[in-house]
Each structure stands twice: as C-alpha cells, then as structure tokens.
Point group: C2
Chain length 229, copies 2
DNA sequence: ATTAATATATTTGTATACAACTTGAGTTTA
DNA sequence: TAAACTCAAGTTGTATACAAATATATTAAT
C-alpha cells in the first residue's frame, strides 16, 4: 500500500503512525474514501486499535497536505478535487520535472529497472482486475515512486512526492471505465520509452517525456472539466 | 513576528495554533532557540497558558518542516544546521526562483513597493540595533515574504516558503558580528535593484537577481564551512 | 404549512492522568 | 580502575473524561 521504506531505527510509535498515515492516504488517493467522506476519529480509533490521540496526529498531517479538511464539531472531511488547484499543481510539477536532470540525477539502479519492468507487466493486466480504475491508480503511484529514485536532491524529491499525492486522485476520479485499457497501454508505452532513455542515461529526454505525460494529464483535466465532473 | 495574514473565518483554536506555531518558528529561525535547544512541552504549555495537547500539535508540525527533532522520552530538540542539507535546499531554491516569471507572476502592488521601501530604511538602521545579527535575520525574512507576493502559483509559494524557513537560520548563525553592516548594505542594494526591475515588470531579470542572491549565500556557506562552524 | 427558535445529540478540541521510553547517577562486579 | 548493571527522575506517547462547536430534530409562532 505504497509503504515507503523506513530506517529500522524508528520507535514503535513512529511505525504505528506511518502505518496509519500511509493507509489513510492511500485510501484517499485511491478513492476508497470519496471526496466529501467524513472520517470519524472514533471509528478510525476502533479500526486501528488505538485511542483518538494518535489518529488525530495522522489527520492533522493529512490536513496540512491538503487531503483532509478538519472542522471543529462537524467532522474530518476528505477534500473535494478543485480544478483550479489541480491545474496549479500540474503547472508546477511540469516545471519541476525539468530539474531531475539538473539537480544531482541518480543513475537507474538494477533494482529500479526491475521494478519498472514488473510495473509494465502489471499494466497489461489492469483491465482484467476486478477494479480496473483503482488498479490503474495503484500502478500509477508505484510508477511515480519508482521514478523518484532518480531524484538525487532530497528536498526536491519530498516536494515532488507531496505535489503528486495532491493530484493522484484525478485518475480514478476522472477516468472513464472504458478508457482504462487505453490509459494502461499508454502507461505501458511510457515506461518502455523511459526504460530506453534511462539505459542511455539520457535524463534531459526523460524529463521531457515525463513533462509530456503531465501535459497530457493536464489536458485530460481540461476536457473533463468541460464535460462536467 | 512574521505573522502571515489569515482569513478572518478561522476558529479560535486555529488562531491559537497559528500564534504558537509562528512564535516558535520565529524563535528558532532567529536563534532565540539555538540548535540543540530542548523545548519542554510543559514549559511551553505554561508559557502559552494551554495544556500540552495544542503545544504538541505545533511541535509535530515543526518536526515535519525539519526545524525540530522529537525523541520519545528524551525531549524535543531544535535541529542542528546540516551543511549538506542546506546546500541541497539552496540548490533547489536557486532553480525555483526561475519559475517566478514562468508561473503566473503577479504585478508588484503599491503595497509591496511600500513595504520594500520600508525594509530598505530598516536596512540602514540594522547596525544600530541592540542585536544586529538578529535584526538582520528579521529584516531578511520580511524581504523574502514580500517578494513572495510576486508568486501567483500558490503551491510554488508554499514550497518556496517552506524551503526558506529551512535555511533562514544560516544568517544569524554564520554571520560575523563585524560583517553585519556590509551584509545590510548589500541587502539594501539588492532591494534597490529589485524595485527598479519590478517597476519595469522585468520578472526574468528579477529572477536572475534573486538567483545571484542565493548563489552568494551558497558561496558564503561553503567558505564558512572551511573556516569551521 | 413555513419559518424561526430551542434543545438534544454528535463531533472535534483540550486538559490530565498514566504508560513507555530515555537518561544519567550511583552501585556493583570483574 | 573500568565496565556493566540498577534504579530513579524526567520526558514524550497514549488513553480518556470533559469542554466547545456544530448539526439535527423538535417545537412554537406566524
């Protein structure tokens, strides 16, 4: 469930926090919690077998990251997708990908290549999945996180991840059920191209490729907007 | 104390949070709390006349932003300035300023011009201040926040602010007492140049100017490193 | 019937007691 | 003497009762 590797040196409390945090975040960006859903602290406390206190720490973090709106006395609500905000974030992300080859790009490890190849395979079976849209979103997240391996500048990686999680919901939200197959093929092709470019250490072209990917997503947003969401 | 303007529609709890948060943050970046200082939750709770609960929310936020390290059973410690980390952040910031004129730059308002002129005046009296280094850092923060008015892309502004607060401490930390006057004059000159460029809506040059400012800061870091900190 | 006011229930925010953990001084032991 | 152990004091993490705020249902007035 997109669990980021953590140093083994962290406390049990921190592990528990990370577990709950990453679980809730993935539920939000995969639309297990639809926008507008109210997350009850008491229910979550029951589910994770803890008190409200550690739950509230997680919810506060999700609020800072723009995925949750906490309203005193009313509830904790999953934020709606705001078209202007999404476009702003995409605009920024399109500029940031350029920096991958400017700021300390890291060579593609054998591990990364392997992961990307596995994800390519995963692309082919997305349509056969019981929940294709959700599965596509899931693979999309994994692909993004894999690509982040190339970013050597740590603050840049942190920023890109945060921005990504703010837009990740658009895929399962806007994608039409009958287009998932097409999108999956497209993602497969993009990974192919990325693998080719990374084999040549051609980071500028890789940045360009990713930029095109984001531009298309952006365009998709604009057309979806006119058709009404 | 660098209080960002807030919508008037926020709850009393949120106002209290912002007050404590911004107060502690400014104490850290102005070195009222030196790196390594332990912040006792109980003491802070006493000072702000609240219980530990709201204090802990603030401390958690400061930890996420890299200004604090929370250690269970040990204490909450102001983070040390890490040279490699600072350099990474500066590298990134140097690229991000370029985006000011790419992503929806906003025209300089009369208000902004006025603020910058006031800050120029402030530069001239920094050396006469009882704590010149602290005063320089204070003015430097205000200048930065003023410049951020030009950034139309909201996520970009948020990112730049966060990165700024991660590096802001270097000024009062590394600056030599006898160099404050020189630095203040430099800042004064930079504001002059910025005002000139903004009057012509020359955002590319403004970006270049700010980039040079960051590059110099970066260089300063490198030399300080060799002389030992 | 509609609307405004009120009361009640529900939910998040805060205060506080206690648990888990760290630290350092003091003691013991090799 | 030095290293390992023990324990006590102090700090953050958690659970929980209560306060503050909100939403909903009820009632009364028009």
């Amino acid at each position: 469930m997109f669990m980021t590797e953590m140093p083994s040196n962290i406390s049990e409390a921190e592990q528990r926090f990370q577990w709950i945090y990453q679980t809730l975040r993935s539920r939000i960006i995969l639309l297990d919690y639809q926008p507008g859903t109210r997350l009850s602290e008491e229910q979550l406390a029951d589910e994770f077998k803890v008190s409200r206190t550690p739950i509230r720490r997680v919810l506060n973090r999700l609020e800072v990251e723009g995925l949750l709106e906490i309203r005193h006395g009313a509830g904790n609500f999953v934020t709606e997708l705001s078209m202007p905000e999404l476009l702003e974030v995409f605009e920024l992300r399109m500029e940031l990908v350029r920096l991958i080859d400017v700021l300390a790009p890291r060579a593609a490890s054998a591990n990364l290549i392997q992961r990307l190849q596995n994800l390519q395979m995963a692309c082919l079976s997305i349509t056969k999945h019981p929940k294709p849209k959700r599965r596509f979103a899931e693979v999309n997240v994994e692909v993004f996180l894999s690509f982040m391996d190339l970013v050597g500048n740590q603050p840049l990686r942190a920023v890109q991840e945060q921005l990504f999680y703010r837009t990740a919901r658009m895929w399962p939200y806007l994608l039409d059920e009958k287009n998932v197959g097409y999108e999956a093929e497209l993602l497969h092709a993009e990974i192919s191209e990325a693998l080719r470019l990374l084999a040549n250490n051609d980071y500028p072209s890789f940045g360009h490729l990713y930029r095109c990917h984001l531009a298309m997503a952006c365009q998709r947003l604009a057309t979806m907007q006119t058709t009404g969401v």
